[in-house]
Symmetry: D2
Subunit: 410 residues, 4 copies
């Protein structure tokens, strides 16, 4: 019986050329799977295209809510950011996709999964670690690393290969950035970005919004509510998480929010330079932190910050389906119990400007913070506190002074 | 013989009233010390004022370069930020001041130091831990905590008390924010800020710059160079650190940079709300990180991030003169060996937008980052890497599948 | 109406003298509460004693299982050890006791809780933070810190004070160590221990077991099973956690296990020196770790180690009833899902010597660990792994070599 | 011209067989290098042996003091231990060896370095990362991973291959553990150890000492002094670090100290089981910590513990010549400034029992630790301290109570 392979299919040139290549070189029955994480591309005609290219079947899977609820939200609750800047847009999507690919592989009785990620990037790792963790028995095929069998060197080669295999589809000549998009973000690499000395050509590059310079001269106030760390409404309108992100993308894109230019360290050991647009995500994470300021105590905030760093690392590295990611998730969820309240802020030309925060669980106490003395706080208490808080320093200083004095005497 | 006390003196009403109070209640000879960390206040006439109030002597100490080189720079090199937002402006100044007060106390043969910090804030801790660590034998007098002896309840009381003691000086009625300023920043507390639900009244509040909304419509490019983590020039003009900060304050203030509205956790156990303006500091730290992205390896960046968090905590807590702060400093300095290069960015209405980074020690390699295969990287290598990198996940998944299968069989 | 106070009562001289003192100085109705955490003291006659001393009521509360299940086990699962040595015996008991005191205070409608902890130790903090967190409205009375009202300076003073108030009880002259005991451990302070240069007088000091030198010449094998991190049997006999600890105390005490001599850092800012005996606890934590070695992956072990350090800190500091302790608990519990299996070890004169470990969830694979090549591991994979794993080092070295060469050329 | 390769040569069968193999398959001129890190093997006749096997030259390099001073001591100062148990004996030696191999390669003008580490272990990584970091241009040859060219499958194959190439040397049939030895430790793998359920056969296995059961019935007191974290004398006799370790090995071996049985996580993604003997090293690290207890403050100890964990990770992973290892080293060195003093302990059947510690820089204060009130500490201070230390808990509890009350009212 012919073995089946599940191909992560985008409809683009690369993954289209893989269809006949899998058949020709391995004799596979190719089942395509186009997974929608909100990348906003044209799904019309995709089925025809896949079939025409030789696929026996095409799945079109809407993963948007799963992606938002089960992958994005755990990272937002943690405030997980990689290397201070990257909001993990692609990193969070890969395990979601890998999980769905495995589910379809099981349903179809497939023995292999094929993806089109390159051999120098992080995504191959994220896809493959996801698959290994969920289905260690499945074979993984990564054509771009199989340079003995995958001999196409360029877009032109791929187009020619398609033609030879009877696939006559219109593929645009590609001279643009290398991009990855989903509901959370779009990433850009290549062209002028390959030289970190060069400023990005933003007018050419941006997709989800405008530069701050082109944003409206009038700022715009936004309110959001959260319940246990989950956003529940924007501007008074209740909505599910994916709609919150859509709404914030629209607002953030308009006001030039969330454009990041970064030289980052890939898992595979090299630095790369990219530009990310995360308009809604940037707002969502800022708003979430704005609320946490009011609700979380100091010690929790401090350890949570460390855990967020850890989480960002492992999510970036593709280690989503691991005991450590689950344990960190349990920690984070516990901290979110009282992250409930309302935040208000103004969007203005790239800025998110706080404009007031409230929560029933606010730990801020106006009477305590102000300069008066009350029931909770007697200024004398500070005497005792400072004496003990500073005791180790003082003991040490006295010891040193004593030694110095003894030294001088000699 | 009359004992001497060194009074940290600002020339304001509070510390002026303390002069006769120290004489009357303790019989001290009061030596005033006005320490200039770049707060920009009027020093003319200060000596006359102090003498008139009963001080036997006034020191006016210019600490600006010491503050910049020995307190600010270690924190900038670390990228130390408290609770994600606060650039530690006041926290870094207090130990610098404490050290100078101790030096003068030694020179004058004083037995005590007096400061005017309140009993609910962090500054009392920072002053006193600094003094304890450097001169554990000196007595510390904190009038605002001595509510039995310090009986003045209001500004009016203080003015009245001054008059009774022959001090007839013009003190303005004060109905403004509670502020602390130095070369690095200005902080604002009080008035509408005491309610976190309220938006700050920025037009009333801001001192060092304008809101993004009022910044020029034209952005402005800036270049900076660094050597071993220390800024050495701005826009091609070599200058010392304090002048770099002055220059960046001017640029940042003009373009609405570095305004932060935060609810933070004080050392003394309560939340407080404040607004900070740190125009130059915000730019300096961003520029420094922009360069580090190119020069530091991933592992170093990760651990350095944790160390920065630790450093921010202990500096915030006033633990400057401690073995831990020194050890962290040694760590940070070691990482700065190659943080040398040039950064370019654009300031525009609150935004710092990267516009190119170069360094002789850049670890970015264009040939490595791009999609081609070269000497350093064979796409096949990724196969082996992923196999081993993912091995723990796969072994675990296999073990679980095996157990499940055994379970099913029963 | 007369206000009620709940007194944490041990039956000893200190807490007995507090009874009339509370009545005399504050007019309280004193309800005594003797909480049994397994300290093994004589409870017979305690009620008579309390009543005779003027208490209106005595509660004797058996907290042993609550203490073991809800305070000890979370710390064992984490492997929480303070400053590398201290197994937190007293630290874990204090919040358990505080919680019960609060429950009784609520039941009795009391307005205050009184404890006999001294003013220099950690226990006052642990009691009071526990009470504050659970019942912020209750007044806390700490006689030993109230030096204005509590004027007794010595044991003799206390005995005299008791006599004056009609309490004629036999109290031994006390010239021993200061101790705290519960099911988990006993701590010793004072006498020769106050000088860290002196060796402890173990033959005088030890209570729960013998020195290694006096242990049997024959070692003894022990097996234990765990389910999800919880011990479930010893030597094949199923038992609840408290009985596991009792059994291990007996075994460990006999074989000289778990004696620790430490100079530790108290919360109140000073170093103190003590000896702890934790015979069963030491075995339990070692056995638990022995199993974890087999079951936890590397990344989880590493982060769990950091979390254990954090947990030890906050438990030591009395911050049990805090969001951070709960969040860390959630993290730890998540890691224990598969900590199930059997461990065998030998006890011999102070040593716990591993003698074999098994688990259905073992991640150890003999075929993988041995030197042969199999399905899971091709020796060539290591080539690729090392190339990428070492890439950052190599790129850096090349860059440095290049710069050096350029330098030489000049 | 014939290219030269430097071969890390032990004189054993494996590396002897590599000599003709390198000549035959690559045409190399083979320069052997036997590096002595204190493994205690027979160096007599080694030169003859190497020459006889076809090497053009043999270096015998005594690295013992370099290894002790520059690799072991930085880890001892940090108290770096991998996964709670492994004292990094092999991990610290590999970079030392790699550095010397590179130095000889430069001196000889060699173009490659060859080592005999296997394809499943950590050592290949440590050797190769060391070489890459120091000489990125050198080719690295790892015969055991080159399964296409290196076709010998067994010891017998290697002996036969040697014979075919005219090498007639006596090689023992090997049926023992796989071992690595240097001055610091010896590791054992293989045989019964491959099954973690089995107890090690210690009587067969141990090399550097005896089991606790076979140690003398009389314990032995030892004193040691340290200066800035470096051991300077044992039992009153001043000696260099390598002699300290030799002396402690003798003492520790005799008393059954430092035998560890561990299932550890290798870098290459699998668990392995081994037994380590580190008699002197275990004593040295314990003694060092015994002194640190007295000298380091709490905050420094806590962060140092985290840094030690990091250091152990990266040393285990072979990342010695990296900026991060250097930065951590700078941190650690800073903490050792005052780690000077004397420790006394008793060795008895596997136990290291503290018997007194003194230091001129001791932060322990007997008057402060005891229960009396003195200048430094007023019991009332604890009131204020606890009030502020517990303030966040209390504020939170009040807020929750308030919300609950409001809830109940409804």
């Amino acid at each position: 019986m012919q073995e089946k392979v599940i191909l992560a299919y985008s409809g683009g040139l690369d993954t289209t050329a893989i269809i006949p290549w899998l058949q020709e070189n391995f004799g596979y029955d190719v089942v395509c799977c186009c997974i929608d994480c909100g990348q906003g591309n044209e799904l019309d005609g995709l089925e025809e295209r896949a079939k025409l290219s030789g696929a026996s079947k095409l799945y079109i899977e809407d993963l948007v809510d799963d992606f938002c609820d089960n992958y994005i939200m755990p990272c937002v609750k943690a405030n997980a950011v990689y290397e201070n800047k990257y909001l993990l847009g692609t990193s969070m999507a890969r395990p979601a996709i890998a999980k769905r690919l495995v589910e379809i592989a099981r349903k179809e009785g497939a023995t292999a999964i094929c993806h089109g990620a390159t051999g120098k990037g992080n995504d191959q790792i994220r896809f493959e670690l996801g698959i290994k963790a969920l289905a260690p028995d499945l074979k993984i095929i990564a054509p771009w690393r199989m340079t003995d069998v995958w001999t196409m060197q360029s877009r032109e080669d791929e187009i020619e290969y398609c033609k030879q295999h009877g696939i006559h589809l219109p593929f645009s000549a590609d001279n643009s950035y290398s991009r990855d998009r989903n509901l959370w973000h779009i990433s850009h690499e290549g062209l002028e970005l390959e030289d970190p000395a060069q400023e990005p050509n933003y007018d050419h590059l941006l997709v989800l919004g405008v530069r701050p310079e082109k944003a409206p001269d009038e700022g715009e106030y936004v309110t959001m509510t959260f319940e246990k760390g989950i956003p529940t409404s924007v501007n008074g309108e209740a909505m599910k998480v994916s709609d919150v992100i859509r709404k914030l993308n629209e607002l953030g894109g308009r006001h030039g929010i969330g454009i990041v230019d970064i030289v980052e360290n890939r898992v595979v050991g090299m630095k790369s330079r990219g530009v990310y647009e995360t308009p809604g995500g940037t707002i969502l994470m800022e708003a979430h932190q704005q609320l946490e300021e009011l609700v979380l105590d100091r010690a929790t905030m401090e350890v949570k910050r460390d855990m967020a760093g850890k989480l960002a690392q492992i999510v970036y590295e593709g280690k989503w389906f691991t005991p450590l990611r689950e344990a960190i998730g349990a920690f984070i969820d516990s901290t979110q119990e009282y992250v409930t309240g309302e935040v208000k802020f103004k969007l203005y030309k790239g800025n998110i400007i706080k404009a007031g925060t409230t929560s029933p669980y606010s730990l801020y106490s106006e009477s305590l913070a102000s300069f008066t003395t009350g029931d909770l706080y007697d200024h004398h208490d500070a005497d005792g506190f400072i004496t003990l808080f500073g005791l180790p320093l003082k003991v040490r200083a006295m010891k040193m002074a004593e030694l110095e004095a003894a030294e001088t005497e000699k």
